[in-house]
């Protein structure tokens, strides 16, 4: 069982929700405080939510073929993840990248890669989400749109922002928190002006909670980050309503079915009240959070991988009932690899079966009014709000990051979650209960264990590209980026755009910015700056 959500009562009664005032606490779907969802009416068709799956594998050209395949099978969104070098702001020719180029996402380090990745993809129709460094993604997409002859203003999609927690957990880019936060603010400010339909502010509570924090800490950490970024943007003079409608929250969905639904409902209410009452947003679109969700990869098991298909379906039903704007199912092979073609198809079909064959999305918020769900929503709202205040009372989020507070919190949560499975206090079918002998565990084995080879050809291609480009142009653009980064008043997106146009790469641009912050160009392997 997840956390303590189900502890206590055997069932719930009217008095458990007697203090709820319908108009102020719930209201109809599509009305403040949006507890019951963002939309008045759900769409009972294949587009009840944006169907997307984790995508990106190998070279940009290879990933492009994968995208086309997904779209042909009914995906209306793509969730593009970079391989570990790209996510870590390293080029494919970095000494650490050799074993990892293209194995867990797409290798993307330069403007040409964006062009190849999105060749023939209708960017004004398909919603493209990105788990990649935001500043690089925004600059690349801006140039891509111009190249595709669509205006950057027409671009849809999103990018995650991970300024406070990424370095501690899964998305380390080897930059100080001050620079990471600045890049977050710069990219949101740039998009607010130049790419207003693009969600440049996706608060990713999925990655920060998967395998670690429980639902309360997941959302509390998410809100601490949202609140820090919002306050900083307002300090820069931005009107809350200029970027508020484009804030999205990417949440996790584990196996605690009702707890996850209640979490999403509580999150919408906290967000609405925070935006209107605390930050003074006037535009109703700023009050209603866009919720997008991934089913929990950490809920999936290496043992009996076919069971993961069932887990994904159960979690996806929870998300359909909670009402989300976009959904992605972590596929059955997750414990081993990024999604195979077979796993992609099953995950998409799972979403389509729930969306088209069931009545899960026939009405908005079908669980609204349930004694249990409403009571749980209230309880989680209170616990999340208390936790936000508790963390904020400890100090400024940037200082907390520098003091290692978040790292300790995340480490402890990871150890706790792992111990719960080890000691059997949380049941995991096929792991600590209902096991079968290894030799009988054969279903879907062949698929999950098929390894993805690193793209050594792509490394060579990038080496050759670096040898043959206009070196003077690269050097001058990177020198300019470094000098702008040294001045805290400058925006960094424009010089990054210039650098990408000059054929500089993500690794080089990151190095230039690190140097402006007194860091080594390449803190991982000590390679000297090429300019």
């Amino acid at each position: 069982m997840p956390t303590d959500a189900n502890a206590g009562k055997p069932y719930y009664r009217p008095e458990d929700i007697s203090r709820i005032d319908y108009a102020t606490d719930l209201n109809d779907p599509g009305a403040y405080p949006y507890t019951r969802g963002r939309r008045t009416q759900p769409r009972h068709d294949a587009n009840s939510w944006i169907l997307q799956e984790l995508s990106g594998e190998g070279s940009p050209a290879h990933s492009n073929r994968q995208f086309r395949d997904l779209i042909a099978r009914g995906a209306v969104g793509l969730d593009v993840i970079g391989d570990t070098p790209s996510v870590g702001c390293l080029d494919p020719d970095h000494p650490f990248a050799r074993a990892a180029v293209g194995t867990q996402g797409v290798s993307i380090c330069r403007l040409q890669d964006f062009l190849e990745l999105y060749e023939g993809i209708p960017l004004d129709r398909i919603t493209v989400s990105h788990s990649l460094p935001s500043w690089f993604t925004v600059a690349g997409l801006y140039l891509l749109a111009r190249n595709h002859e669509v205006t950057p203003g027409a671009l849809r999609g999103s990018v995650i922002q991970t300024p406070l927690y990424g370095e501690d957990y899964c998305y380390a880019v080897h930059m100080p928190v001050e620079l990471r936060l600045r890049l977050t603010l710069d990219s949101i400010e740039f998009c607010t002006r130049e790419m207003p339909r693009f969600h440049s502010f996706v608060e990713d509570t999925y990655f920060v909670s998967d395998g670690g924090p429980d639902v309360v800490d997941e959302m509390a950490l998410g809100f601490v980050e949202i609140r820090k970024v919002v306050r900083e943007l307002m300090k820069r003079g931005l009107d809350i309503d200029s970027f508020g409608p484009r804030i999205a929250i990417l949440v996790n969905c584990r196996m605690g079915f009702f707890e996850e639904i209640a979490k999403i409902r509580a999150t919408r209410r906290i967000f609405a009240r925070m935006m209107r009452e605390e930050f003074g947003a006037k535009d109703s679109r700023s009050w209603s959070a866009n919720i997008t969700a991934h089913t929990a990869g950490s809920a999936l098991t290496a043992q009996q991988p076919a069971n993961n298909v069932v887990r994904g379906a159960v979690q996806a039903v929870a998300l359909a009932l909670a009402g989300v704007q976009a959904m992605e199912i972590s596929t059955f092979d997750e414990a081993y690899r990024t999604p195979s073609r077979e796993a992609h198809l099953l995950a998409l079909r799972t979403q389509q079966i729930i969306g088209l064959e069931t009545d899960c999305s026939k009405v908005a918020d079908p669980l609204g009014g349930s004694y249990y769900v409403e009571s749980l929503t209230n309880k989680l709202e209170r616990r999340i709000a208390d936790r936000i205040h508790e963390i904020e009372a400890l100090g400024d989020a940037v200082d907390l990051s520098n003091r290692g507070y978040f790292r300790r919190l995340l480490e402890e949560a990871m150890i706790t979650r792992a111990a719960e499975i080890q000691n059997g206090s949380v049941a995991k079918v096929g792991v600590n209960v209902c096991q079968i002998p290894e030799e009988e565990d054969t279903m879907l084995r062949e698929v999950v264990e098929t390894k993805i080879e690193p793209c050594l050809d792509h490394i060579e291609l990038i080496r050759e590209f670096k040898r043959t480009r206009d070196q003077e142009r690269v050097r001058s653009a990177l020198t300019e980026l470094r000098s702008r980064a040294a001045d805290p008043k400058e925006s960094l997106i424009e010089p990054v755009i210039t650098a990408l146009q000059a054929d500089a790469t993500i690794g080089e641009a990151s190095g230039a910015m690190r140097m402006a912050y007194g860091m080594q160009y390449d803190p991982l392997s000590g390679t000297p700056a090429p300019f």
């Binding site: 290496a302 480490e411 792991v431």
Partner: protein, 140 residues
């Protein structure tokens, strides 16, 4: 209670993650598990290379080196790592664990000279007992 090698010193284990793999849950869980079992664990963490692991293992006098993996990067570092852990004809025992290690991977790893390999679902008792055995053997 402290777990000791044959010469009476507390068992020292170095835990690291190779390359760019950023999944740490397994490494942290095993670290906590071995500490609870009375061993000294040096947590090297993410972004380790065969060279940095070998250097730390020598400097910290590690009896056993443990690699946690959630990606296939280990395959490409394995030969270098095994070589780097050799000192004067002996090798610091190397164990590799992670959900990505399938039964056939396990056999291949052992064949190559890895002292122990753990796939998903290995019990903490198994891991602790194996480390103890390797540490005692290595301090002979």
């Amino acid at each position: 209670m402290e777990v000791q090698t044959r010469d009476g010193k507390q068992v020292r284990v170095l835990i690291a993650i190779l390359g760019l793999d950023q999944h740490e849950t397994g490494a942290l869980a095993v670290t906590a598990m071995l500490r609870d079992a009375g061993m000294e664990v040096i947590y090297l963490g993410r972004f380790a290379s065969p060279e940095s692991i070998a250097a730390a293992a020598v400097e910290e006098s590690a009896d056993v080196v443990g690699i946690s993996c959630h990606s296939w990067e280990y395959i490409y570092y394995l030969d270098d790592l095994l070589r780097a852990l050799e000192r004067g004809g002996e090798r610091i025992p190397l164990m590799i664990g992670g959900s990505v290690i399938s039964p056939s991977d396990k056999a291949r790893l052992l064949e190559k000279g890895v002292s122990a390999a753990f796939g998903a679902g290995t019990s903490s008792d198994d891991i602790v007992a194996t480390v103890r055995k390797l540490a005692v053997a290595s301090s002979n």
